[in-house]
């Protein structure tokens, strides 16, 4: 793990642009349905050798685990690249590269849709849509559908058909509503999801909260109690075996899902009383506190 952060290198915008260009090249390689292993290795090494990459351990780790034969490593890397490209400050060279890769991505989309055969294929498409600024809404809807881990062939085919229509968003929203209705676990109503979203919780996370997790909780508690997102590595369950008990004593677990970094989890918690988020200070976790409902 890197033990430093090089501000001078990072704050130089031309360095950020260079890393963005390398990320874009790698994303272009990953977008193809059949990933070219030679091109992938070359683009991967370029990113890993970049001076700024060492400042971001999570990103570096995702890219270093990238493999041509491992779809989940590719999807994870695409998530990291999307976040990195959205974050880095570009210049005319990176803008030119973005335009070049955008064309590659647009040309690949129809082929990716037609060859959807698994939840991984859908997850990859979510990242492809996330890359395109004007397709973010589709990415959000498709991401929520993917979170249900589709197993029915018929639904998968419906999603494919919807993605090829002009009114994609409308079609995907319909499919999402149907899947939600059928879901045995019962996800929360739009009104409750709105409370979470107004507190700043990502739409994608709010949609994963189940009715069961909200039993005995009032709307007032959902609006006013301290709401936290915990991100932690799965190792914590061995290094701090009391961690889960601590969570259950102090908080209601509303949902949990895999984190953006490999082997990490995100957990949405509503604290049971007025105690602040610092109750988790003693654990190796990242804590994000959401604002109160207004």
């Amino acid at each position: 793990m890197s033990s430093d952060f090089d501000f001078g290198e990072f704050l130089d915008e031309s360095n950020q642009s260079k890393l963005m260009i390398l990320c874009l090249d790698l994303f272009g390689v990953l977008t193809k349905f059949q990933v070219d292993h030679t091109k992938l290795e070359a683009a991967k090494i370029e990113v890993l050798n970049n001076e700024l990459t060492k400042n971001f351990e999570g990103f570096r780790s995702a890219i270093s685990h990238l493999s041509g034969g491992d779809k989940s490593s590719q999807i994870n890397s695409m998530k990291h690249i999307n976040l990195m490209v959205d974050t880095l400050v570009g210049d005319s060279k990176s803008t030119e590269k973005y335009t070049e890769i955008e064309k590659v991505v647009i040309e690949a989309v129809d082929g990716l849709i037609k060859r959807i055969d698994s939840n991984d294929d859908l997850s990859k498409l979510v990242q492809v849509y996330n890359f395109l600024p004007y397709k973010k809404e589709i990415a959000i809807l498709l991401g929520r559908i993917t979170d249900y881990e589709l197993k029915e062939v018929e639904t998968m085919e419906n999603v494919k058909a919807a993605l090829l229509k002009d009114d994609v968003e409308v079609q995907l929203a319909k499919i999402l509503a149907e899947i939600a209705d059928r879901s045995a676990s019962g996800f929360i109503s739009d009104n409750i999801a709105d409370i979470f979203q107004q507190r700043g919780v990502d739409f994608h996370i709010a949609g994963l909260v189940t009715k069961e997790s909200l039993e005995n909780l009032s709307d007032e508690q959902l609006k006013n109690n301290v709401l936290l997102m915990l991100n932690f590595c799965e190792d914590i369950f061995t290094s701090n075996p009391e961690f889960l008990d601590s969570i259950q004593n102090d908080a209601h677990v509303l949902t949990s899902t895999s984190g953006i970094d490999k082997d990490t989890f995100d957990m949405l918690l509503l604290l049971k009383n007025e105690r602040r988020g610092n109750i988790f200070d003693k654990y190796p976790v990242k804590v994000k506190e959401y604002r109160a409902f207004r």
Partner: protein, 109 residues
């Protein structure tokens, strides 16, 4: 101690007054405003600016302002230990200069 990219959303409190300084930040996209204990805005920053570390220069361990995201964007966060390590490497003269700059900023609060 490496950096992490964190999306920020309007209204999100990035840190609050009295909170222990555990992380410092570079604003990459969006905007952030700083408020004093009377909830008065004392400053705002634009992208490519570091923030959340001024108190460390004065040897303090808690934030004296509240930082709130105004327009959505991203920050790069990193452990405050990185700043502490870098500060410890400065000579006395440089430290005095930094402290006087930090004083000017903190006196605005």
């Amino acid at each position: 101690m490496s950096g992490s990219i964190e999306p920020i959303v309007p209204g999100q409190v990035i840190f609050d007054i009295g909170q222990k300084i555990e992380k410092c930040f570079i604003l990459q996209k969006g905007s952030v405003h700083f408020f004093n204990s009377k909830e008065e805005k004392i400053s705002g920053i634009a992208p490519n600016t570091m923030f959340g570390f001024t108190e460390l220069v004065k040897g303090k361990t808690t934030h004296s302002t509240k930082a709130v995201c105004i327009t959505p964007g991203t920050v790069v966060s990193f452990s405050s230990e990185v700043i502490k390590t870098k500060l410890s490497a400065y000579g006395e003269d440089n430290k005095l200069l930094l402290e006087s700059l930090a004083d000017q900023l903190l006196n605005k609060i």
